[in-house]
């Protein structure tokens, strides 16, 4: 796990695969152990619709190449470091206006009232700068959050890595990758009915032939 700085050339990348998330919150608990913001967990873990599903979704900062949060900041408080990692707002500059909270297309920044400051995932700069994986990706038991080189990913895991996003007319490229089904196979028509499986009726309540 001794690796070089985050996200440069063939160096490690951060990957999110929402389909693997088991909602255990190891990431949430571990985030608060990060040396740069001890006691404050900055990762998001959403329960999508617990009434209907156990699906949960972890969300770290996606670390945009041109971060919207920084663009809308009136105090010029949000900076990227030399690795392109977007930092929490600089404490002396942040005016707590929450422009960034509202503008981020991924919903990542949090205004933390106790500190009167916008805080967000900084990709565990203290760890990644020394060659260690971020806390959340270190502990994630299902590897829904994962840190390693693209070569390692493709050697062992399935799916395509995506780092380009469209929000209306806004195109965003991120340092963090998401895993999706094989992109080369083309889009899936979810309404076609061909992929219907047990998940549509887990307990066979509509199945007369049980």
């Amino acid at each position: 796990m001794k690796t070089a700085r985050y996200g440069i050339d063939d160096r490690p990348i951060f990957v999110i695969d929402q389909s693997r998330c088991i909602g255990c919150e190891a990431c949430v608990q571990a985030c608060s152990e990060c040396g740069t913001h001890r006691g404050q967990s900055l990762i998001h873990l959403e329960r999508i619709d617990r009434a209907a599903s156990t699906q949960t979704a972890p969300m770290v900062c996606m670390h945009c190449e041109d971060p919207t949060c920084a663009e809308v900041c009136p105090a010029d408080a949000i900076k990227q470091n030399e690795d392109g990692v977007v930092q929490s707002a600089l404490k002396p500059r942040c005016i707590g206006c929450s422009n960034c909270v509202l503008a981020c297309p991924f919903g990542v920044p949090k205004y933390v009232a106790d500190f009167d400051q916008m805080m967000k995932c900084d990709m565990c700069t203290d760890r990644t700068s020394e060659g260690y994986a971020p806390m959340c990706a270190s502990v994630c038991p299902s590897e829904a959050l994962w840190y390693g080189t693209p070569e390692e990913f493709h050697a062992h895991r399935r799916g395509s890595l995506v780092d380009g996003w469209l929000f209306g007319r806004q195109a965003v490229t991120t340092k963090v990758f998401a895993v999706v089904d094989d992109v080369a196979a083309g889009p899936i028509d979810v309404l076609s009915g061909e992929e219907r499986g047990w998940l549509d009726d887990p307990f066979a309540l509509e199945d007369g032939a049980r």
């Binding site: 255990c24 571990a30 617990r50 590897e143 047990w198 887990p202």
Partner: protein
């Protein structure tokens, strides 16, 4: 009479559970780290490697242990926050005796007074009522060294037959099934076999919440294209993406397995060569399954017949396959039968003793594997020997330096011990690391029993719900305060290193037991210079047994990142995968098929109690919650038990999500918020069991046990459900 001395409120005020939110010094403290200790998590049988950071004899944080091969730094939330159990305001720091007049009902005393009282009560009770009227209950959060020592202590110092352990509520059905069919009680595979399987079948195991690390192994198999089958009454988190989901009704697993065997035979998806060369009694198993058609099983299990057929085809036609099972199929009065029926499927298709092949239990408790090998079960001696077999007794007596006749015979299993206390046959109790006031079935009965004890002493680090009944409380050691070994769910013996010393006047558990033994006049058998000496004696005592540790040493275990038993001689490399070449642990080397006809659960639903109850765990809590209900981050994650029910059931009862509901069985009732979710069978409700008193799910469960393993039926009961009021938290 061992009644709780003061009100519950007064007990909670003094002994908690209070919540530890931050490490010593607070989150902002920039403490210098004196040392970083390689050890393991204490919260489950996966035994993940973890590094604990120490400052001034306090654990102040953790660091992932990337090099430990099992988990490579991964942890679940319990592991992340485990370090906060240390330096806790509720930690027991002094011996105490019950005293109604003292704050919280207990008065601090010196060690000498406390131990003198324990010894005099042991002697009084045994002189008055006989040796076996004093019982001991133990637990498998203890290391191998302590488990071994407890077994020896109960037999040679207390001279009681009545010693049992909390693995009775965890691993005994799997152990019994494995011994009957395969000849040995150990998971057959190292976890590195899981990624090599072409089909992975989880049966009655909520892997994502109870063994989170195992999900990464299953995903590694799926990345290779493996299919995943999940068998559970609930769409548990891992099931969400499964290839096939078998929504089995609680208590019907053996019918499902029988129908799969029926289909394997009907379609000839069998490994005849393997069956002929390496097994016996296939015909008997086949005959029992002859009428177990998928259509028949569909009626009983609620799993559509077509899905049973699909499961059989996936299992039967895949070259490799792993079935992983846990308490879902094991905590039943048919627990052993369910395990045998599962093993039948592995034997029929030749899925043993090869890479990526096996039918394996997932051990639940921290040292649930090692703790069930070395002699603190009521019927067992070290090396997983049988206390009723003369040669086994002789072998251990020789190591202990006693005459065979000095070792008591087979004692009562845990539930029977509680029943014997209730019946007035057992009058005294010493417990360590066991909290039956939360974890036993029918806990109202258990509390009644505890009230009847003439004398009860407990060794623990927090005052558990059971410990509140004690006459004498002896402060023992936390996992991180003592050195030893444990054996993980994959059979890997690992090293537990002490990070800190016990705080205050608390002592290491082994020292307390040896001190009591000395005062009972049996000290000659309990003089050890170190825990390593206990381990070396354990290895000698295990030598020639099935769980053979002969060649294991602390040095090897540590330097080799664990050692898989059996290690039958010095220099032996260990045995990660069992039964290679189809050689099973019987004299003839052949595995045993078993006929498993179906029978219903102990209690079935009827007009009065029309809904099935099943119980289990949540990811942020561990067992009876004695440790995890004291850690703020974990409590925040799931603060109180909820009753999961399907909207169809909820609608029929006029219940909305968040409403208070009262769930009633023939044993008791519980009122708690409803969680209305489509992820559970409409005929079943689920309640997690980690909480005490009025929040205890085990108020409802039935005190019926498996006739072979004496495992209680935690997973099946009949209940009724009614709305009790508005939602508590809008």
């Amino acid at each position: 009479m061992a009644r709780i001395p003061v009100t519950e409120e007064a007990l909670v005020e003094r002994f908690g559970p209070h919540l530890n939110e931050a490490p010593p010094g607070g989150w902002d403290a920039d403490l210098e780290i004196d040392r970083v200790v390689d050890t393991h998590c204490c919260f489950c049988g996966q035994q993940c490697g973890i590094k604990l950071k120490v400052h001034d004899n306090e654990v102040v944080g953790f660091e992932p242990w990337y090099e430990f091969p099992f988990n490579e730094g991964k942890l679940c939330p319990k592991g992340v926050k485990r370090y906060l159990q240390g330096s806790h305001p509720d930690r027991l720091l002094h011996p105490m005796v019950r005293d109604k007049g003292s704050p919280g009902g207990f008065r601090q005393v010196g060690w000498d007074d406390a131990l003198a009282r324990v010894v005099s009560e042991i002697q009084r009770i045994q002189a008055t009522y006989g040796d076996d009227a004093f019982a001991m209950l133990s637990g498998v959060s203890l290391t191998n060294e302590k488990s071994y020592l407890v077994g020896k202590f109960a037999r040679l110092a207390l001279h009681t037959a009545n010693l049992d352990y909390n693995g009775r509520f965890c691993m005994v059905s799997a152990g019994a099934g494995n011994k009957k069919a395969l000849g040995m009680d150990r998971a057959p595979n190292p976890w590195s076999d899981i990624p090599l399987a072409d089909v992975v079948w989880t049966a009655g195991t909520n892997v994502a919440e109870t063994f989170p690390i195992t999900t990464s192994y299953i995903w590694r198999a799926r990345d290779r294209g493996a299919k995943l089958i999940v068998q559970d009454p609930r769409v548990v988190p891992l099931a969400r993406t499964a290839d096939l989901f078998l929504p089995v009704r609680p208590g019907t697993d053996s019918a499902l397995f029988g129908a799969v065997l029926h289909e394997l035979i009907r379609n000839d998806w069998l490994d005849h060569e393997f069956i002929d060369a390496h097994t016996v009694d296939f015909d008997q198993a086949a005959a029992a399954a002859a009428d177990m058609t998928p259509a028949w099983a569909a009626e009983i299990t609620g799993v559509p017949a077509a899905r049973i057929g699909e499961a059989a085809e996936l299992w039967g036609t895949s070259a490799t396959g792993m079935m992983l099972h846990a308490r879902g199929i094991e905590q039943q009065v048919k627990g052993t039968e369910n395990v045998l029926a599962a093993i039948n499927l592995g034997l029929a298709t030749g899925k043993f003793g090869k890479p990526g092949c096996g039918v394996s239990t997932i051990t639940g408790q921290g040292n649930g594997q090692g703790g069930r090998e070395h002699g603190h079960k009521c019927d067992q001696l070290p090396g997983n020997r049988d206390i009723t077999v003369p040669e086994h007794r002789e072998a251990v007596a020789k190591v202990w330096g006693v005459d065979e006749s000095e070792i008591p015979g087979k004692g009562l299993p845990a539930v029977a011990i509680i029943e014997a206390i209730h019946a007035g046959e057992i009058k005294g109790l010493l417990s360590i690391c066991f909290n039956p006031a939360v974890s036993a079935p029918d806990v109202n009965f258990t509390r009644e029993a505890l009230d009847k004890l003439e004398f009860y002493a407990t060794i623990d680090f927090f005052l558990s719900d059971t410990g509140r009944h004690a006459d004498v409380v002896l402060p023992g050691s936390l996992h991180e305060e003592d050195e030893g070994t444990s054996t993980s769910g994959e059979g890997r013996i690992i090293k537990i290193n002490a990070a800190v010393d016990p705080p205050g006047e608390a002592r290491r558990d082994g020292e307390i037991l040896c001190d009591i033994a000395e005062r009972l006049g049996r000290g000659e058998h309990f003089r050890y210079g170190s825990n390593e000496e206990i381990f070396d004696e354990l290895c000698r005592a295990s030598s020639g047994g099935k769980a053979d540790y002969t060649g294991a040493t602390w040095d090897r275990i540590e330097s080799e990142m664990g050692l898989f038993w059996p290690v039958p001689e010095v220099g032996h490399p260990g045995t990660p995968r069992l039964y290679e070449g189809g050689q099973f642990a019987f004299p003839d080397g052949k595995a045993r098929f078993h006929a498993v006809p179906y029978r219903p659960p102990a209690e079935v639903v009827d007009d009065d109690y029309p809904i099935w109850l099943t119980s289990g765990r949540v990811v942020s809590q561990y067992l009876s919650g004695t440790q995890t209900r004291r850690i703020a981050g974990l409590v925040d994650q799931y603060p109180e038990p909820l009753c999961e029910m399907h909207p169809r059931l909820a609608d029929s009862l006029g219940i909305k999500n968040g409403d208070q509901v009262t769930v009633t069985s023939r044993r008791g009732e519980i009122t708690l918020p409803a969680a209305v979710v489509t992820t559970i069978r409409p005929d079943t409700v689920f309640i997690p069991y980690h909480w005490p008193g009025k929040k205890a799910a085990n108020q409802l469960t039935i005190r019926a046990v498996d006739p072979v393993s004496a495992m209680p039926e935690f997973k099946v009961a009949a209940v009724k459900v009614a709305r009790a009021g508005e939602r508590a938290h809008p």
